[in-house]
Amino acid sequence: MLRKIVRRSVPTFLGALALAGGEAGATGNGSDAGPRLVIVAGVGGSPEHRERFSGWARELCAAAVATPVPARVRVLVERPPEAGESGDPCAPAGRSTEEALAREIEAAGETGAAEAGLVLILIGHGSGGGNPRFQLPGPDLSPERLGEMLQSAGAGPVTVAHLGSASGAFVPALSGPGRVVLTATRANETNETRFPRHFIAALAGDDGDRNKDGRLSALEVFDFARRGVEREYEQEGLLRTEHPLLDDNADGLGSLEPEAAPGTDGVLAGRRVVLVRSAAAVADSSGDTPEIRRLIAERDALASRVDALRDAREGMDEETYLAELEALLLQIAELAERIAALREKTE
């Protein structure tokens, strides 16, 4: 069955764009808009894991800043180096204590995340059982405490990705209206996770952008990482010990295969853009001449009709469906050609 894809829902897109800088690339790292992506590398427990977690945090940051619309990122790690490289946007901003995390979240709320939103990524070990925690230097972080912290993040959209073990235990406490919560595992899965590598690959590479619109939605990232984990376990012939979850309908229950179908988990995550990967995608929403913007709006409207047609496919005659699909796509193709020509001219 074809999975439903939700694209470019303009009314919520402004909020979603926040991570990428919101205002058409005007905000690079260090702008006044304040932190919007907070990456936390927790306690490693061994030098190897400490290195790994801080390395992943750096990779994620690098992916987020190496886009046409660099995100503003704050990185917290277990042991930050004494002096970071000056001008390095991914240099750790501090130690990943509960206190520091609370400060970063609060700062995000104060400096504009109310509109632009916050993406929080937790990398590290989690513990399950009746007392779930995310392991940080100093006191470990409980789901409830994180939930409280997020109250201070302002009214903007919040996306939390907990990439560690037993992360599913955080879903009930973090679930809420406007929230997208991704976890690497179910609550009782305590083995070290493979999800983070695929999550990073989704953000760092081109393959995660399933619908090729230049914007990575939370759903696309989740889906890419989830499938990667599945494939890996399958190829190695292992029993899966991690089942990623996504919750975005505020019911506190994560879904294993969110679909963006009405009433289920996935709808909001499909609209929540976590990274803009192409300049064209930025221009689509924020730049260009009025003529180009009009053509883009026309193209997007046609693309929505493709969505609708696909949703109505069941029961349609195959040839009729393909003919209608082709007709719409040819119109989009012609518009795309005109948009490209106009852009070339304006450059």
Binding site: D207, D209, N211, Q235, V306, R310, L330, I332, A333, A340
Partner: protein, 914 residues
């Protein structure tokens, strides 16, 4: 189908009573025994002789047969001594002597226990008529046999009647036994009587499978009533073994042998377990040759002598098998096991006249016993004469329509013949009669799973592929199968059958069930003639399995089996298949082969088969494969390929290996063996002898001599210096030096290893390390050559093929890169990466068809970016001039990603061209 579960009977009596009640409502009256109510034969014997009756009985039960015999003989006049001596003689195979001892004096009426003992002695050696008469005499109401004794006799007579073809009477009597058992108030039976009731329940299991569980429960009760009596444990073990529940069977048998390590029946059952696939033995009895032990105790034990013959037949040692079978029949002319074993010898030799005579002789006494046919069917099966096996199973069913074992044999052999639908129906029937047969259950479960597989007919092939993998596998499997058949047609004049079924399993357990009915087989592929089954590349770890060479190998068997009408011996077909495989995919000798050569463990040619069917050391099967291929390689080089064809024809005519060698090559087997030895010595001898310098230490995980982890580099190097001709130690030293960053020295070591063993191939071969070291030394050409040498000896090295392809690409050799990528796919096709790269190579070289195939594979292998994979495929179709497919695929891409610029442009291009 989860209901097909077999486990040992729960001990809760209520469950068993409920099941029994189906047949006999009186079961509800059954009550557990009171402590000490069991009657034991020995209890009434006074202790008036040396050692006392307990001492003699204890000696007998612990295998001290000589001691027991001496004690019993001294006290022959005492009560119980005669029966004790009879049992001693029976267990040690002196049946005639035992019978003479029980011969009643004229004018006397022998005691009833002695009557029963006589009957059982006659039964054990197959003398049906006297046994039947004695049992009937015992059951004569006038003799007033006690309940327990009567129950034993009744059960024995019922089973005898069934075997003699008196089915109605036998079944009625079995029910009577169960009725008697259920109706007896106060539970007065001893262990023997309980065992008899258990046998009756097991024999009626085909009518009500719950009775199998009841039988086990009753055997367990009997065993707990008299822990010293081996009979109930033996019966339980045998029943479980018949259901292929090897682990639980072993528990019962081990319990018997723990008390009496010299119990011939216990040893015989152990030998049966030892004949099961190795995995089943994990928790079973030890590695001692239990059959030899059984025969040492009781050289006349009919089932053990028959098993000996069947083993020899399996080893294709016909003359020896015939000699033993004839001797067994001469010794005990009526024993049905012996007649059946001799019949198997005649059957495999094609001696129909003798076979018919033996069948007639067997039927005379055992008209309702399928034993003979059930001996011939597996004998045929082991020779891969599956049609004959099926035919014999049908005959067995005509003789004994209730035989679930015959149904199992028929069903499994039909599956091997590719007659899947009929096979399944037969197995369903078998399952209905016996839901506890693990082979039947496993196979039916597998067939259920096969329903979800994709079946593709492309004559002469029929492919059965895991649904999720068919998209990737099918083009490669089909292309390779066609290439192999074409190659074999050219070399052998082989014409494939109308239908050649190739099944591929993505779970090793399923493949194993398809092959032997249970999980745990270590092989990757199997050929049944016109049906080939093998593991999917996804069933094993990357780098540990080469699916393409396995398929090639199995197709080689199809040729050898086809040309010889399945008469080719195992060593020959394995050697030939491996030879073909080596020529197509690469060649490398493994360390165990060198070690076997060093230790003088290579078998001579006439006995090469033993290395496959009865290995005596763990690596012998693998060593025998390579050795056999060297024998065939020598024959082809020395006598021409036509000699191979003539040998195959000789086998088709039913000749044995010695005759085939003599008549085809004009030399004696010994002369051929000498010549092969000389070739092997010249090619591998020096290398093998070099290994001897390492001493006798064990092997490390990478196949090199194990060196304790706390030894530093210098110690490793010193050991290598002390054994300069030992290539394994040079490799080990090279690894240590490389890890220590001493690359120049490491390179010298690996180069030395290559000089010493240029043919050594394995994941840990020196060439691979050399490639890395040359690359680090900025010598890309040498690095590439070394890597090429490595993969040529170890074609499963998927990652190394990819690396080699990259090297060729960097040096502007796209053709070579493409070939390396194809080889990577032959090692593991399930990843998108080699397909993606090969598609790119194909695009640059204008190989449109190849590009399309690879793009299809990228899509089927679950490329993470599906829209892009569809677009790339559409582009490949477009380049190949297939606009319709290009349009279809680009629409699919855009359906996912409607604003995908490149795909939109392609759509316009397609449209504009049209």
């Amino acid at each position: 189908m989860n209901d097909r579960v077999y486990g040992r009977a729960p001990t809760a009596a209520a469950i068993a009573i409920a099941a029994l009640a189906v047949v006999c409502p009186a079961a509800a009256a059954w009550r557990p025994p009171e402590e000490g109510s069991a009657r034991r034969a020995q209890d009434s014997r006074p202790a008036g002789w040396p050692g006392g009756p307990e001492g003699a009985a204890a000696a007998l039960r612990s295998g001290g047969y000589e001691e027991a015999e001496t004690a019993y003989r001294r006290a022959l006049g005492e009560p119980g001594a005669r029966l004790g001596l009879v049992e001693t003689l029976r267990l040690t195979g002196r049946y005639r002597e035992a019978l003479e001892l029980l011969e009643p004096e004229e004018g006397t009426r022998p005691p009833l226990p002695e009557l029963l003992a006589r009957a059982e002695l006659h039964l054990e050696i197959g003398e049906a008529q006297p046994a039947e008469e004695l049992l009937k005499e015992l059951l004569d109401p006038a003799r007033g046999a006690a309940d327990g004794l009567a129950l034993e006799a009744e059960a024995q007579l019922a089973l005898l009647e069934l075997r003699r073809g008196k089915r109605k009477a036998g079944l009625a009597r079995l029910r009577q036994v169960i009725d008697s058992y259920n109706a007896s108030p106060g539970y007065p039976f001893n262990a023997r009587a309980l065992s008899a009731a258990g046998r009756a329940a097991a024999a009626l299991g085909f009518q009500n499978p719950g009775l199998f569980r009841d039988a086990l429960r009753v055997f367990d009760e009997a065993a707990s009533l008299d822990p010293g009596d081996p009979l109930p444990q033996l019966l339980a073990g045998e029943l479980l073994l018949d259901k292929f529940n090897t682990a639980e069977a072993a528990e019962s048998i081990v319990a018997v042998l723990r008390n009496n390590p010299k119990h011939p029946h216990g040893l015989f059952l152990t030998a049966r377990i030892q004949d099961r696939p190795a995995a089943a033995l994990a928790d079973g009895p030890g590695p001692v040759d239990a059959l030899a032990e059984a025969l040492a105790v009781n050289p006349n034990f009919p089932p053990a002598r028959a098993l000996e013959v069947h083993r020899l037949l399996e080893q294709e040692r016909h003359e020896e098998a015939e000699r033993r079978a004839v001797a067994a029949v001469e010794e005990l002319p009526d024993a049905p096991e012996g007649i059946a074993a001799l019949a198997a010898v005649r059957f495999l030799a094609g001696d129909d006249a003798e076979l018919f005579a033996l069948e007639a002789r067997f039927r005379h006494n055992w008209a309702g016993d399928p034993l003979l046919d059930l001996a011939l069917a597996p004998a045929a099966e082991r020779r891969r004469w599956y049609r004959d096996a099926a035919q014999r199973s049908r005959v067995a069913l005509r003789r004994s329509p209730d035989s679930a074992a015959a149904l199992r044999l028929l069903g499994l052999n039909l599956l091997r013949l590719g007659e899947v639908n009929e096979g399944r129906t037969v197995l369903e029937d078998a399952f209905e009669r016996d839901p506890f047969d693990a082979l039947v259950k496993n196979t039916l479960d597998l067939l259920d799973e096969l329903d979800g597989f994709e079946k593709v007919s492309s004559p002469p092939f029929e492919f059965v592929l895991p649904a999720g993998e068919a998209g990737v596998l099918r083009p490669y499997v089909e292309a390779l199968a066609r290439e192999a058949v074409e190659s074999f047609r050219e070399r052998y004049g082989y014409e494939p059958p109308e239908s050649l079924r190739i099944e591929i399993y993505d779970r090793s357990a399923d493949f194993s069930v398809r092959t032997v009915g249970i999980t745990g087989i270590g092989a990757h592929g199997v050929c049944f003639g016109n049906v080939i089954a093998l593991e999917s590349p996804s069933a094993r770890e990357i780098g540990s399995y080469h699916w393409a060479s396995t398929l090639w190998h199995e197709l080689g068997h199809a040729v050898a089996m086809g040309l010889t009408e399945n008469r080719v011996p195992r060593w020959f077909t394995e050697g030939l298949s491996l030879l073909e495989e080596r020529w197509r995919f690469g060649d490398g000798a493994a360390l165990p082969f060198y070690l076997a050569l060093r230790d003088g463990q290579l078998l001579d040619v006439p006995h090469l088969n033993d290395g496959f069917v009865r290995p005596t050391y763990p690596a012998q099967v693998g060593v025998s494969y390579f050795h056999a291929s060297l024998v065939l390689e020598h024959i082809e080089r020395e006598y021409g390929f036509d000699a191979i064809l003539r040998m195959l024809e000789g086998y088709r005519q039913g000749k044995d290996t010695e005759s085939v060698i003599e008549q085809t090559l004009g030399v004696t087997p010994a002369a051929l063996d000498d010549a092969v030895d000389a070739v092997v010595e010249a090619r591998f001898g020096e290398t093998a002898r070099g290994l001897s310098e390492s001493g006798t230490e064990g092997q490390g995980t990478a196949g090199h001599p194990a060196i304790p982890p706390d030894q530093g580099v210098e110690a490793v190097v010193a050991r290598a210096d002390a054994a300069p001709a030992n290539f394994a130690l040079q490799i080990r030293a090279g690894i240590a030096l490389h890890e220590a960053g001493r690359n120049a020295e490491a390179t010298e070591r690996f180069e030395r290893a290559v000089e010493l063993a240029p043919e050594y191939g394995g994941a840990d071969g020196a060439y691979r390390y050399l490639s890395r070291l040359y690359a680090e030394a900025d010598e890309p050409d040498r690095a590439r050559v070394a890597l090429h040498d490595h993969v040529g000896r170890f074609p499963a090295a998927y990652d190394d093929w990819l690396r080699l392809a990259a090297m060729y690409s960097e040096t502007g050799q796209p053709g070579e890169a493409g070939r390396a990528l194809q080889s990577a796919i032959e090692a593991y096709p399930m990843n998108p990466e080699p397909h993606e790269r090969l598609a790119e190579v194909a695009a640059t070289q204008g190989l449109a068809d190849l590009e399309v195939r690879e793009r299809q594979a990228v899509l089927a292998s679950g490329a993470p970016d599906r829209a892009d994979a569809l677009y790339s495929l559409a582009l490949a179709h477009f380049r190949a001039g297939d606009r319709d497919r290009a349009r279809r695929r680009v629409l699919e891409a855009l359906e996912i990603a409607p604003t995908f610029d490149a795909a939109l442009r392609l759509l316009l291009d397609i449209r504009r061209q049209g």
